[in-house]
């Protein structure tokens, strides 16, 4: 009996099981190749066929005859040959009569649909098992990926970092990493392992670990990639390799040194236009002893750097057109306000572009670095008594996370409150229709708070330096402490007027920014 349908498009062998009642020699099912002429013959045969009378160049017939089959009755369901009812010689050694044949043909016509149902159930079971195994493998691959991607990104004052990893259903071998290095530097990594699933995830995990270890020991990104290449070469499975871009950022100076092992060229958008971070180098794992070109650039204020995987630029729309790097660059050129909004806009653009009915083809990984203009907060306050408290709490929130001790934050809060009071009182005369503008900025070395009022057309009031003994003796007003407090609390204070606005700038040096950081 045939257990599997022969699919013309997929030449699978047809298994034949001996008819149990007949005295057949073979006890195990044997297989009929789908291109055996017997298959085509039985597909068109009107009924029972005497195998010995067939003149076909058919290995199956030879095999069946040798096994003792004399009569083959095709099992046809929905016009398709789904099996063969094989019958050996009659026990009486007489030929099968016309009645015998009709009976066998009737039996075959009833059996064929049942055989087909059995085949479908079996096919489905096999498919479910295979799918289960595949899902399990995908779950493992996803687990590996998730465990080897950064849980959170470091906070770099004056810089914005954002990342996205969106796996395809089949989970590719994309990865990214941000590595804290000595001297306040950071290593930025993006990579892609060819292949998918568990093997790719395991190569990714190994590459990432080797890269982390090498980055801790070697300063130069080219040397790091060369070391990683030599480490992964002996063990990487055949036909698999890893593309990887690695850069070392010094956040204080903005200097970025980088090398590239065949990965997509990162894109930049600078205040003067688009640029790329090109450096040559072979993918990792192809052959040992490779060297990697190393380049250096300075990331200026207002520049955005995009590291991405091919899942982004090679995504297709319904007409099989690729998303491409030009579309990607145009999103960057739109100057999104933050690193996160670069990612949001790229993904929104990609989702609009991609064929909505199609599955995501490959992993998409994005790592965006942006050097902000250092603005941590920018707000306005009405000139209403007491609003200085709002100013100090918002400034305190803005500098949270900067390298300022709690004591120095308290000093900055007091100076901010006093300068805001002066701005509301002397600059804006507590006119509730006039606002005080406050901006907090940091360049990574110092933080500044600028407080702007509308009193630029008036002279800055001069008060004598407060002398408490004079005040206690009633020879000086008990007031007049504001400017003195401001100057006592911050590292530097300067003020300027432009005819309409008066600006006071308070400065505090961040820890590590200068030797006199502890100056009161």
């Amino acid at each position: 009996m045939v257990w599997r349908r022969s699919e013309p498009a997929v030449p699978a062998p047809v298994a034949v099981e001996p008819q149990p009642q007949a005295p057949l020699a073979a006890e195990q099912p044997f297989e009929i190749a789908p291109n055996d002429p017997l298959v085509a013959y039985l597909q068109a045969a009107p009924g029972a066929v005497d195998l010995a009378r067939l003149d076909l160049d058919s290995p199956a017939i030879q095999e069946m005859l040798a096994a003792g089959v004399t009569l083959a009755i095709p099992l046809i369901a929905n016009g398709e040959l789904v099996g063969i009812l094989n019958v050996g010689p009659r026990l009486s050694d007489q030929d099968f009569s016309a009645d015998d044949r009709r009976l066998l043909e009737q039996l075959a016509s009833h059996a064929a649909p049942a055989v087909r149902v059995g085949q479908l159930v079996r096919e489905q079971q096999v498919e479910i098992q295979a799918r289960g195994r595949m899902e399990q493998e995908l779950a493992v691959a996803r687990l590996i990926q998730q465990n080897f991607l950064p849980k959170e990104l470091p906070d770099l004052p004056g810089w914005q970092l954002a990342a996205l990893y969106r796996p395809a259903r089949a989970v590719g071998g994309d990865f990214y990493d941000v590595i804290e290095l000595p001297g306040g530097r950071f290593g930025l990594v993006i990579g892609d392992v060819t292949d998918k699933g568990v093997p790719a995830a395991m190569v990714m995990a190994a590459t990432r670990s080797v890269l982390r270890a090498s980055a801790a020991r070697l300063h130069e990104p080219g040397a790091v990639l060369a070391r990683v290449n030599d480490s992964v070469c002996p063990d990487i499975p055949e036909n698999m390799f890893v593309t990887c871009f690695y850069a070392v950022l010094d956040p204080a100076s903005g200097v970025l040194r980088y090398a590239n092992a065949g990965h997509n060229v990162p894109l930049l958008h600078t205040p003067t236009g688009p640029a790329e971070l090109r450096a040559t180098g072979m993918p990792l794992g192809l052959m040992p002893g490779m060297s990697y070109e190393e380049k250096e650039t300075v990331i200026d204020v207002g520049t955005t750097v995009l590291l991405y995987s091919d899942g982004l630029v090679e995504a297709h729309d319904a007409r099989r057109e690729m998303y491409g790097s030009a579309r990607t660059a145009s999103v960057l050129a739109g100057a999104p306000a933050s690193s996160q909004s670069v990612i949001d806009e790229l993904i929104a653009g990609l989702d609009r572009f991609a064929d909505p009915g199609a599955e995501q083809e490959d992993d998409i990984t994005l790592l965006v670095l942006r050097r902000g203009d250092g603005t941590l907060a920018d707000f306005k306050l009405q000139s209403v008594p007491g609003n200085e408290r709002e100013a100090l709490s918002r400034v305190a929130a803005a500098v949270d996370g900067l390298a300022l001790s709690p004591e120095r934050i308290e000093r900055l809060k007091t100076a901010t409150a006093e300068a805001t009071m002066n701005a509301m009182e002397h600059g804006n005369r507590y006119d509730p229709d006039l606002y005080v503008s406050i901006a907090v900025r940091s360049d990574g070395r110092r933080v500044s708070v600028s407080i702007v009022d509308h009193g630029g057309d008036r002279d800055i009031p001069t008060t004598p330096a407060p002398d408490i003994e004079e005040k206690l003796a009633g020879r000086q007003s008990p007031r007049g402490w504001g400017l003195f407090l401001i100057k006592s609390m911050v590292d530097a204070m300067h003020q300027e007027s432009d005819g309409s606005r008066h600006t006071v700038v308070l400065e505090m040096t961040l820890e590590g920014g200068s030797d006199d950081a502890d100056k009161p």
Partner: protein, 113 residues
């Protein structure tokens, strides 16, 4: 006006008038602080307890200076307790601390109980 009010509760501790301050000390504190000061007559020492104070600004310092000027005229010693490290620093840079005694935390009445 969004200035917060100051609460000044007075109690006698031995021969000292303890003024427990709660709230913010800004220009609006003058009345409450003055009334508390007036709760005892000339010569009675005043202890200002800043433990419940979260914010002192320059106009608040002017109020304290005014109080110290009165105390000097009334020969009433003034001391302070419960100041945060930041406001202790401000009392030092303004030299308020030269004219009132800032009690170390262990000397504050009730610190040992």
């Amino acid at each position: 006006m969004t200035q917060t009010s100051l609460e000044a509760l007075t109690r006698q501790a031995g021969d000292t008038l303890v003024v427990e301050l709660r709230g913010d000390i800004d220009g609006g504190a003058r009345e409450a602080l003055g009334a508390a000061y007036d709760a005892a007559g000339p010569g009675v020492p005043v202890l200002l307890d800043f433990g419940g104070v979260g914010y002192i600004n320059s106009t608040g310092i002017a109020v304290i200076v005014g109080l110290l000027a009165r105390a000097r005229a009334d020969a009433r010693p003034v001391s302070a307790m419960g100041l945060s490290a930041h406001y202790r620093e401000i009392f030092e840079v303004t030299r308020l601390s030269d004219f009132l005694t800032i009690l170390p935390p262990t000397d504050e009445p009730g610190a040992a109980t």
